[in-house]
Amino acid sequence: MKILFWGVRGSFPVAEGHAVGYGGNTPCLEVEVAGRTILIDAGTGIRGAGQALADRGVEQVDLLLSHAHWDHIQGFPYLPQLDQEGVSVRVHSLRHPNQTLNEIFAGQQQPPFSSRSLKDVRAHLEFVEHEDGDCFEIGAAQVTCRRLNHPGVAAGYRVDSGDHVLAYICDTDLDGAVLHADGLGEDANETKWLQKLRQNARDLGHSADLLVCDTFFLPEEYEPLWGHSCPDEFLRLAAEVDASGVWLFHHRPGRADSDMDGIVERYRPAAVSEGIQLHAAREGVEISL
C-alpha cells in the first residue's frame, strides 16, 4: 500500500506564507493498493492528485468521501478525470437522510455558483451510498465505512490490504460530550450514540499502521460545538487499539509551519511512551507500507 498526501489543511485552502511547508490545500489522499487507485476526500488537493493520475494513465478511480462540507468537496469540479471519456469515477459516501449524493454534488456545481455542471461530465460517474458499518471491495482491498461524530453526516474509512491497514478518521469530535451527527431520529439516545460513534472510530483504527486524524484543535483551543478533536484524544485512541502510526491532519488554517513543528514536539514524548510513531501530515509526503 502506498499513501500520498495531496491536501492536509482543514476549513479552507490557505495560500499564505505561514503554511507553505505543510501545505495549504484542503483534504485529499491518494492510496495505491493492489493495482487500484483510491482517493480520499475531494478538497483542493484533488486537482494535483487527479493530474498525477492522468499523467500515469489511470482509468479507474474510487473516491471515498468523508462528508460534504465545502473543504472536502470543493476540489471535485476540478478533478481532471471528469473531462476524460472512458474513465470511471466512483464516489462513495454514507447515505444522507434527505438528499442523494448526486444531488449534493450537483448542488455545488449549479448556477449561480458554478458554470461547470455535473451534466457536462464526460467520464463515467457513479455515486455509491453506503450504510454505517458497510464493507466493500475495491480490487483486492477491503474498505469499511463507519459513521463519525461531526455535524451533518460524516464517515471514516478503513482500508485493509494484505497485512496493511490505513484508517482515515476525519472529521470528528472523538471524545466530546456533544452529539453532532444529524438524522439519528427524534428519540436518539445521546449517550448511546456517542458511545457507538466512539466505538466506530475504535473499529476503524484497530491495529492500523497509519491513523490519519482530525487534530484541528489543541486542548486550549477546543470548541465543543465544532466537531473536531485534539491530538490527545487520538493518541489515546491509538494506544487503545494498537495503532502504530498517528498522522496529525486537517490542520487549522492559521497554524504556521513552526506551530506544526511545535505540536509534534509537544506530543512526541506521549507518543513514544506508547510506542506510537507521531507525524504531522505534510503535502507531498508519500508513505509505503
Partner: protein
Amino acid sequence: MRVKLWGTRGSVANPSTTTSQYGGNTPCVEVRGTAGEVIILDAGIGLHWLGQRLMGEGFASGGEAHVLLSHLHWDHIQGIPFFTPLLIEGNHIRIYGRTGNGRGLRDSLLCQMERAYCPVPNFFDDSIGALLTVHELETESISIGGVHVRTRQIHHGDTDMCLGYRIENDGGTLAYLPDIDYTATEHQDAALDLAEGADLLIHDAHHTADEDLSDGHSSDADAVRIGEMAGVGRVMLFHHHPDRSDDEIDAIVASYADRRVPVSAAAQGDEIRLSS
C-alpha cells in the same frame, strides 16, 4: 484611496510554491476611502485574511464594511463563512450584488450556508454575531460615505449576472472587471464605460490569447487592449488561472514592457495608493 489585494487567483485556490509570489487565494480586494470607508470587492478566500486584519482595526468591537460582489461563483463568495468580523456582535456587514436569476441575493447566499455543506453557523440568522444586511443593487450608482460606486452588468460566459465596478474617491478612480469575456464586440461597451480614464484597471487575465476563450474569461491581451482603449493609467492583470505559475506570469508581464500603458500582474499582498 488605498487598494490592497488579498486574493488574485481565479476559479479555485491554489496554494503552491509555484504560485506564492502572485498568490493562491481567490479574489478579494480591499478598498479604503480617505475617510476610512471599508469597501471590499468580492469575497473569495482572501476575505478570511482581510477579516483577521480588520479584527485589529476596530472590527473586534464594532465596525462597518461594505462587500461588493461581482457575481456568485464560488471563487467570489467562498470566504464569507470564514470572515471573522461576522461573528462579532456590533459589527455591521453589508453585502451588495445582483443575481438576475429571479431569486434574490439573500436567498442565493443562504444556499451557501446549507447544513449539508457548511461547517459554520448561519450568519444570516439575525441572532448570530454581526448585523448582516444584503442589498440588491437595483441602481447603477451608490455612495458609501465619500466613495462613489458605479456598476454595470458585464458579460461573463453563461452566467446570469456579473457586475463590474468603478470606484471613485478623492480624485482617484479604480475600475474592477474581474470576470469578463469579449466573445462579442459589444461586450466592450460596459467595460470601456466603467474603465474610462481610470487610474487603475484590475482586469480578468485568466487566459493567454492562445487558449480557449469560450469559458467566460479574458486573456492578458484583452486586458491590455481594453486598458489602452479606455485610456487608463495602469493595467493590472487579475484572476490568474489556477495553474499559471509565477514564472509564467512574470513572462506575460515582461512581454508588455514597451507598451504605452504600464502593465503589471496582481500580487497577493500588494498595496496601491490612488489619488488626484
